[in-house]
Structure formats: structure tokens, C-alpha cells
């Protein structure tokens, strides 16, 4: 199984819009105020530097994924630890995206439906997605990514006249120290870190890394300019689903109305891809580490696990707090810091080995 670069970029694009659709823009507005836009641009730069460093280290270990590299650094213990961390993180992300989206979709579309009913829709879709394996999910994303991109560009063209650039000022927002301190917003680019888990499955990881970064950055720029430019601070902090609010602002006279239905469908597809990717990767990792010949057989179990864990969240404020906690305290360390440390250690070990061989 080989994943084409274009398939990967498309999938990352689909995955990349999830943080934008959900509550992360609201968190940013709460933290940085009017500086949220400038901070997004600043974090682009800082993310580019850190991701360049990370992938520069990673590309020295061609044909190996982060699990193999962990094994190289710390033997079976580190291999299992990395697998567990990656699996837990992927499942947690999938669960949180699912519950958050479930709550939001119930507010706007299925107002009378019980949450179990929504989960059932996702469960069926999830099982189909995971049964098709990683390749299947990547291929599905290739179909939907152009649609998502076009719809976002369409949204931008429809609403750019409403953008008020004075909403981006004062440029440093609530606190200058906070602005400079929180340089990394890795949650926007977390999809790119899947490259580390793919290893030699990805055809051209270097090209995939560069283009997926540019693709996600473009999407983020498009949406954040609209979000922060149209809904000014402090009003934006009150809306936990600002992206939906944006789509409701689109108006094309009386003949073509309520375009948000199209965007709701797109978000649904993106969420399907996000949770399918998370679950498929978990199945993939467990199959690899536990040497399962028929890994897909555990797919329904993992899917059920995701849905069951999602059922634990019953209060929307709890969901928001958990998401905030994951974004601020887990993602930077687990998704970025941990692989960086592993790669640094692996590089040191490799260099010392080369040095020993040479001497």
C-alpha cells in the first residue's frame, strides 16, 4: 500500500479545516483578542520553523516511521510507549471532534434528535471508513478536498466585502507578552504529523510535507481573515460556532438562500474523514505493533470504542474545557514535543554510531 502525495495533501486539507470549523478560532479570540489574526500569521512562521526542524530530523531516517525510530532509540519499551501515546492521542482527538461536532450539529440541524441518533450515523460511516483502511480514507479525501477548497474560496469571494481590517487592531490584542509567548499553534498543523506515522507508506514525504503545510496555511488564512475580519472582538468570543455564523452571512438574493446547508454537508464529510483517519491509524498502528495479520477485524471494536468514549461527554462546557485542555496542554507536548525528542535522540545515536564506525 502506497499513498500518493496528492492523496496525502488532500486528506490533510480535509483534516485541517476541522480545527477551524470547531472552537479553536473562538479560543484564539478569547486569548489574543484583536491580535488573533496577527498571531495566526506569527504562528505560521513559528510553526514553519519548528516543523522544518522536525521533518529535517525525520527525513534522515528514510523508510522508517516514528515507531521504528522509537524502537531504534529505546528498544521495545519506547516502541510500545510511542504506539500507546499515538493511539491514545488519535482516539482522544477523534472522540473530541466527534462530540464537539455532535453538539454543534444538534444545535443547528437535528435540534430534536437525541445525541445517540447522531452517533449512530457516525458509527456506520466510521465502520465503513475504517474497513476500507487508510488507503480508502485517503482516496475518499481526494474526492472531497477539491470540493472543500472550492467552497471555502467561494465563501471568501462572497464575504470579502464585509471584512473590516480595523478588526485586526490593536495588533497585539489582549496582551503583548501572551502574544509572543504562545508561538506555536500546532493544532492547526497536527494533520501534518501523520507523516511521521506513515513512514515508507508515503511516496514522497518531503513534497507532502511542504505542500500540505502550504495548503493548510492557505485554508487557515482564508478562514481566519473572514472570521476575525467580519465578526469583531469581543463578540466573536461569544460564538462557539463562528464558522457556521459566517456561512449564514452568505446571501445571494431571494432565489438562492441558506447556503449554510452546503457547508454543513462539507463539515460532515470533513468530520467523517477526520475520525476515520484517527481510527484507521490506530488500527494500523496496533496491527503493526501487535503483529496482527488481519488488523481490520479490530476496526469495529476501535470504532465502537470511539463512539462509546464520546458518549461519556454529556455537557457542552465539559467538551469545551476538555478541548481547550487538549489544545493547550497535550497537543504541543505529545504531538510535537515527544516526536521531536525521539528524533533528536535518534539523530544523536545515529551520529555517534557513525562517529564510532569512522573512528
Amino acid at each position: 500500500m502506497k499513498i500518493e502525495t496528492s492523496e496525502f495533501i488532500c486528506t490533510i486539507g480535509c483534516v485541517g479545516i476541522i480545527p477551524l470549523v470547531l472552537t479553536i478560532p473562538t479560543f484564539n479570540a478569547q486569548t489574543y483578542g484583536t491580535g488573533a489574526m496577527a498571531h495566526t500569521l506569527y504562528s505560521f512562521l513559528m510553526n514553519a520553523i519548528i516543523l522544518f526542524l522536525l521533518f529535517h530530523l525525520y527525513f534522515q531516517f528514510s523508510n522508517q516511521d516514528i515507531i521504528d525510530i522509537s524502537e531504534y532509540v529505546g528498544g521495545s519499551f519506547l516502541k510500545i510507549l510511542t504506539t500507546v501515546l499515538a493511539s491514545v492521542y488519535l482516539i482522544t482527538s477523534a472522540v473530541l471532534v466527534l462530540v464537539e461536532f455532535n453538539e454543534n450539529i444538534r444545535n443547528i440541524l437535528f435540534q430534536n434528535a437525541p445525541s445517540d441518533y447522531i452517533y449512530l450515523i457516525f458509527l456506520v460511516g466510521l465502520v465503513i471508513g475504517v474497513f476500507h483502511g487508510l488507503k480508502g480514507v485517503f482516496r475518499a479525501a481526494t474526492i472531497f478536498a477539491p470540493l472543500i477548497l472550492m467552497s471555502l474560496i467561494f465563501m471568501f469571494l462572497s464575504l470579502y466585502q464585509d471584512i473590516d481590517i480595523t478588526n485586526f487592531t490593536p495588533i497585539f490584542g489582549n496582551d503583548m507578552f501572551l502574544f509572543w509567548k504562545d508561538a506555536l499553534k500546532i493544532e492547526f498543523f497536527e494533520g501534518m504529523l501523520l507523516i511521521l506515522l506513515l513512514g515508507n507508506t508515503l511516496k514522497n514525504p518531503k513534497k507532502a510535507a511542504i505542500w500540505s503545510y502550504l495548503f493548510i496555511a492557505f485554508i487557515i488564512l482564508l478562514i481566519t481573515v473572514l472570521l476575525y475580519g467580519i465578526i469583531p472582538y469581543p463578540s466573536i468570543t461569544e460564538n462557539y460556532f463562528p464558522f457556521f455564523e459566517l456561512s449564514r452571512l452568505m446571501s445571494f438574493g431571494r432565489f438562492w438562500q441558506r447556503v449554510e446547508s452546503l457547508y454543513t454537508f462539507i463539515w460532515l464529510i470533513a468530520v467523517y474523514i477526520y475520525i476515520s483517519i484517527g481510527t484507521s491509524y490506530t488500527v494500523f498502528l496496533l496491527s503493526k505493533v501487535c503483529h496482527l495479520n488481519f488488523g481490520y477485524r479490530i476496526a469495529p471494536l476501535i470504532s465502537l470504542l470511539v463512539i462509546s468514549l464520546a458518549r461519556f461527554f454529556v455537557s457542552y462546557p465539559d467538551i469545551i474545557h476538555t478541548r481547550k485542555f487538549l489544545t493547550n496542554y497535550i497537543t504541543p507536548y505529545v504531538a510535537l514535543g515527544y516526536p521531536l525528542v525521539i528524533l533528536l535522540l535518534a539523530t544523536i545515536k545515529k551520529r555517534s554510531q557513525i562517529h564510532e564506525t569512522n573512528s
Binding site: 483578542g33 484583536t34 491580535g35 444545535n107 443547528i108 440541524l109 437535528f110 435540534q111 430534536n112 434528535a113 441518533y117 449512530l120 450515523i121 456506520v124 460511516g125 465502520v127 465503513i128 474497513f131 476500507h132 473590516d164 480595523t166 478588526n167 487592531t169 490593536p170 495588533i171 497585539f172 490584542g173 489582549n174 496582551d175 503583548m176 465578526i231 469583531p232 472582538y233 469581543p234 463578540s235 461569544e238 455564523e245 449564514r248 452571512l249 446571501s251 431571494r254
Partner: protein, 386 residues
């Protein structure tokens, strides 16, 4: 086997996609096209009187369509909140109230003077109500307005409101005040919210003219209709307006000019020792519509003179508008957002206390008009011998 399973799962998914939850038969819904809020006549604290103007689809479409009051009916109830009012109306209306087609939200002036806290928030958080819905203040009671409004030329009342409010683009006598903008301005520290003012004329036709100014969500006054052009010019929402300019040499005769926005205004605002100062540059295109005088406007000198007169006239309108906002102590043009640009942090700007220092505003207005006199017939009417 795998394909059969996939097919089965896909078919299963289809069953869920169109569930019965939230289903709404179009025939079972009563589409509200306008809502009005007044102070509750029973005087009960915390309650307001809500009037729903509901479309009668049979009278709007088809061969037997009508215009005027026959196209809608109204329901009125007193309730502490919108959702409770909806429930109360649903007990008397055979069809379920649906707010997804609301085009106009009206508040009576009396209620607005008391403050709209709690009302606007509930409308904003209601997903059925569009963020671009017009919010307006009614000089009389909102109930009376909604019961008596008579759209003469339009069978669809929703379209009637849409078209009527959009006429500000031609007249510059009102402003399009959407509920999202109204709400965000009420939360801002650099501007105040405004809402269009509407009333019924002698023929019971709605008229949108001028705007009401708020501080927070409390009505504090209204702007003169004739100065609205100044507001539209400063807020980049100006489209077109006609001006009558008396020519100095023949003051009894007017020259009619159509003004169009050439580009967005260039505004710089600085604050020095608690005194804000604004420099405003407005660029407009002017087109000569009719020349009531006998002056030949193709003469370069005359054109320049006329252009200067136009610039002076616009400057005067903007000046009068700003003076009125200073009197009201309310930055309805949102000049504060231009002052905000000069600060690095929100707190630094907040310390300036824009809303408090706004009455100290000093300003300098510059208008650049580009006069076009083409297509005008000059000297076509020789003066009649007396």
C-alpha cells in the same frame, strides 16, 4: 463478501440520513415575516408584548394572489422571552411558528428607551433567525405597525421589507441595520449601535427614514434624516444620493447632482491628551443631472466653481452629522475603530475610554469631488421674453 458488507452498511447509512427527527412539513408551518416587541400593556415587570406577522402563502402565490393586508395575519402575546412567546402562539395558531423567514425585527421606541438587553441576545442565539435580518425602531407601537402596514405594490410582505430597506442605496435617507452588526456594535468599545427608524405614512405604507442611536442597548436619540448621507459616507455604506445645489448667481434655481462613492473614505484618528482628532478624506463622483439655471456648465471655470460648491455641500452635511453625534455623545460612525489602530494592545486603547472622550472630538474634513457634466443639454431652452 467485503463488497456486500460495504453495500449493506451504505444502505444502512442512507436510512439514517433522512431520519424523522426534526422533520418539518412545509404546510404545517406558519412563516413569521416580521416580529415586533413593545412594552407589555399589563405592565408586568420582565414581560414584553411580542407581535408576529405571519404570511398567508395562499394569498401570496398563485392566480389569486393579493397585495396589502390580506397577505398576512398577526398574533400578539405577552411573554418574558421569545421562546415562551413562541410556545404561547403555538397554542392558538394551527400551524407551528417558524422564524427562519423573519425579515424585520421591530422594537417600539418606548421599549428601546428602556433598553433592549436580553432581547437582542436571544435573537442572535436563535439559529432560525438570520444574522442579516433587519432590526428597526418603530415610532409608534410595533403591534400597530405590523397590524396596519399595507404593502401596495408587493404581494410578498417579506420581499416588501427587503426592497424597502434596500432603498437606502438610492435615497441615502436611512441605513441597512442588520441584527449581527447591531449586536456586535453594542458589545464594542469603539462604536455604538444604530437601528433604522420606521413608521407608517397616511396610506399605511411603511417608511424607513433616519436611524436611532443607542448607547449599549439603550436608545438615546435619532439622527436627522437629511444628515444620513454623512453617516453612510463615513461608514463606507454610501451608494448614491441626489443633491440640490443653489447656484450663487441664480439662487432661486437649483442644479441637481447625483453623488456616488468613488472609494472608501480615508480616515485617520489620533488621541492626544484625551482629545480625539479625526482627519477625513472623502472622494466622490458627481454627475450633473439637471441644470435649472441658464449657466453654461461646459465652461471650465463654471465647472470648477460648481465642483467647489458640491464639495462644500458634502462637507457641510458630514460636519452637521458629526456635530449631531457629538451632541448625542455617541460615535455612530465608528470613528473609534480608526483610533484603535494606533494602539498596540486592547488594554492601552481601553484606557483611553473612547466613548467618554468622543464628545471632545475635533475633525478636519476634506472632500474631493469629480464632476461629470456629460450628456447634459445646455442652452436648450432660450429664455422667454418677459
Amino acid at each position: 463478501m467485503k463488497q456486500t458488507l460495504n453495500l449493506f452498511l451504505l444502505l444502512l447509512l442512507c436510512l439514517f440520513l433522512t431520519g424523522c427527527y426534526g422533520k418539518a412539513e412545509l404546510d404545517d408551518l406558519a412563516y413569521v415575516i416580521a416580529m415586533g416587541a413593545d412594552i407589555a400593556p399589563n405592565g408586568k415587570e420582565g414581560e414584553i408584548q411580542i407581535t408576529y406577522q405571519v404570511a398567508i402563502p395562499l394569498k401570496i402565490t398563485g392566480e389569486n394572489n393579493e397585495t396589502g393586508k390580506k397577505t398576512f395575519t398577526t398574533y400578539t402575546t405577552c411573554a418574558p422571552s421569545l421562546s415562551i412567546a413562541n410556545s404561547q402562539i403555538n397554542t392558538v395558531s394551527s400551524k407551528k411558528i417558524d422564524l427562519s423567514h423573519v425579515s424585520l425585527i421591530l422594537y417600539s421606541k418606548e421599549l428601546a428607551q428602556k433598553g433592549l438587553e436580553g432581547h437582542v441576545n436571544s435573537l442572535i442565539s436563535n439559529v432560525a433567525i438570520r444574522p442579516r435580518t433587519i432590526v428597526a425602531i418603530c415610532k409608534e407601537s410595533a403591534k400597530e405597525f405590523l397590524e396596519n402596514v399595507t404593502p401596495t405594490l408587493e404581494s410578498s410582505p417579506a420581499r416588501y421589507y427587503d426592497l424597502l430597506i434596500s432603498s437606502f442605496q438610492e435615497t441615502s435617507r436611512s441605513a441597512k441595520t442588520e441584527i449581527l452588526d447591531f449586536y456586535t456594535a453594542s458589545q464594542s468599545i469603539d462604536r455604538v449601535p444604530i437601528a433604522a427608524i420606521c413608521e407608517l405614512n397616511d396610506h399605511h405604507e411603511a417608511k424607513f427614514s433616519s436611524v436611532a442611536v443607542f448607547r449599549g442597548l439603550q436608545y438615546i436619540g435619532e439622527l436627522k434624516e437629511s444628515l444620513l448621507m454623512g453617516h453612510l459616507l463615513l461608514t463606507s455604506t454610501f451608494h448614491k444620493a441626489s443633491l440640490a445645489i443653489p447656484y450663487p448667481e441664480e439662487s432661486a434655481k437649483n442644479i441637481t447632482i447625483t453623488i456616488q462613492a468613488k472609494q472608501k473614505p480615508i480616515i485617520h484618528v489620533t488621541i492626544t491628551n484625551g482629545v480625539p482628532h479625526a482627519t477625513i478624506l472623502l472622494r466622490v463622483d458627481s454627475h450633473l443631472d439637471s441644470n435649472g439655471s441658464s449657466i453654461d456648465l461646459y465652461q471650465t471655470k463654471t465647472m470648477e466653481e460648481l465642483n467647489t460648491l458640491i464639495e462644500e455641500k458634502i462637507k457641510q452635511i458630514v460636519d452637521d452629522y458629526l456635530q449631531q453625534t457629538i451632541t448625542l455623545q455617541a460615535d455612530s460612525a465608528g470613528l473609534g475603530k480608526f483610533a484603535k489602530k494606533n494602539y498596540l494592545t486592547w488594554n492601552a486603547f481601553q484606557k483611553e475610554n473612547w466613548k467618554e472622550i468622543y464628545p471632545n472630538l475635533t475633525y478636519q474634513i476634506q472632500v474631493e469631488s469629480n464632476l461629470n457634466v456629460s450628456q447634459i443639454i445646455h442652452n436648450s431652452l432660450p429664455e422667454f421674453p418677459k
